[in-house]
């Protein structure tokens, strides 16, 4: 409804979701830091959260009907823009964030541990490319970024409430 401030809140929401995913990834990495055998037969490969910006185009209702759906409704996914008949009165654009979870391509760690059941004939073992310290740092960063987004939401709410006093 209120373009600027509500959009800001919504975009902060995508930031919150992104940081949450990032935290999930950290948890997964930490849990599997010593996993030498996955279903694929390789050690666990570290995952990372990749943030990318999403240029949203929301074509508002009134203004919008999907060809295949009577009384159809607008949704934010850019993919839905195809095949839409629109009399757009207002295109709402925001730059939100979205997160992809992608494998970390760096090499597995080679560790000398002849006693390990998965060690090769020379006693060497491939371990996951997970560094616990790196993960902890990332976890703290994600938490801080999450808090920052919360602050942004709060600021938008405060501004809105101030305007009510006009």
């Amino acid at each position: 409804m209120s373009k600027g401030l509500f959009d800001a809140i919504r975009i902060s929401g995508t930031g919150l979701a992104g940081q949450r995913t990032r935290l999930d990834v950290v948890s997964r990495n930490l849990a599997n830091a010593d996993t030498t055998q996955t279903a694929e037969g390789t050690p666990y490969r570290r995952q990372r959260a990749v943030f990318r910006e999403v240029l949203e185009q929301r074509v508002r209702q009134d203004r919008l009907q999907r060809d295949d759906q009577p009384g159809g409704l607008s949704r934010t996914h850019p993919g839905h823009l195809d095949g839409l008949r629109s009399f757009s009165r207002e295109d709402r654009e925001g730059v939100a964030t979205a997160v992809d979870v992608a494998p970390d391509a760096s090499d597995f760690r080679v560790v000398y541990d002849p006693g390990h059941p998965d060690a090769d004939d020379d006693g060497y073992l491939l371990m996951p490319n997970v560094d616990v310290i790196t993960e902890m740092v990332d976890m703290i960063a994600a938490t801080r970024a999450y808090e920052a987004n919360i602050s942004a939401v709060q600021a938008a709410k405060d501004m809105f409430t101030q305007a009510l006093k006009i």
Partner: protein, 136 residues
């Protein structure tokens, strides 16, 4: 003469309906949040604004666009919000509740409610001035 100027339009109704929508929406969002970890739960939303595409909110010269469906020709007063399952695809690992979206919806809905309340109060204050015949 003055009274007619005040009661012209049913914009009091707009605000009252808006308040109704926002308070019902609050409940729906709160339900979603409460059930964020409930297996089998399907996230819901209260749709209302989307139904107003054809209902002209201005009183004079209601215009309808030919390509709007019958749904759109309902007058504003007869349009009510309804609760539907969201068609947004999201998976939080247990169900399709997107907690961050729900939290931000909660915030924006709360703000909308406050704005509508404030506007309604201001309107009543104006009416009070009119009734008293002098500024409050």
């Amino acid at each position: 003469m003055i009274a007619r100027g005040i009661f012209e339009g049913s914009h009091l109704n707009h605000l009252k309906k808006a308040l109704d929508v926002y308070s019902r929406r609050h409940k729906v969002v709160a339900d979603n949040i409460a059930n964020v970890e409930t297996g089998g739960y399907s996230a819901r939303e209260l749709r209302f604004e989307d139904y107003l595409s054809g209902a002209d909110l201005r009183l004079q010269g209601a215009r309808t666009h030919e390509s709007h469906l019958d749904l759109g020709r309902r007058q504003f007063d007869r349009v009510d919000g309804d609760v539907q399952e969201t068609d947004a695809a999201f998976d939080n690992g247990i169900n399709n509740v997107d907690i961050d979206k729900e939290m931000t919806d909660l915030a924006t809905n709360d703000l909308s409610y406050r704005l509508a309340t404030r506007l309604l109060s201001m309107k009543y204050q104006t009416l009070r001035s009119a009734v008293r015949g002098r500024p409050m």
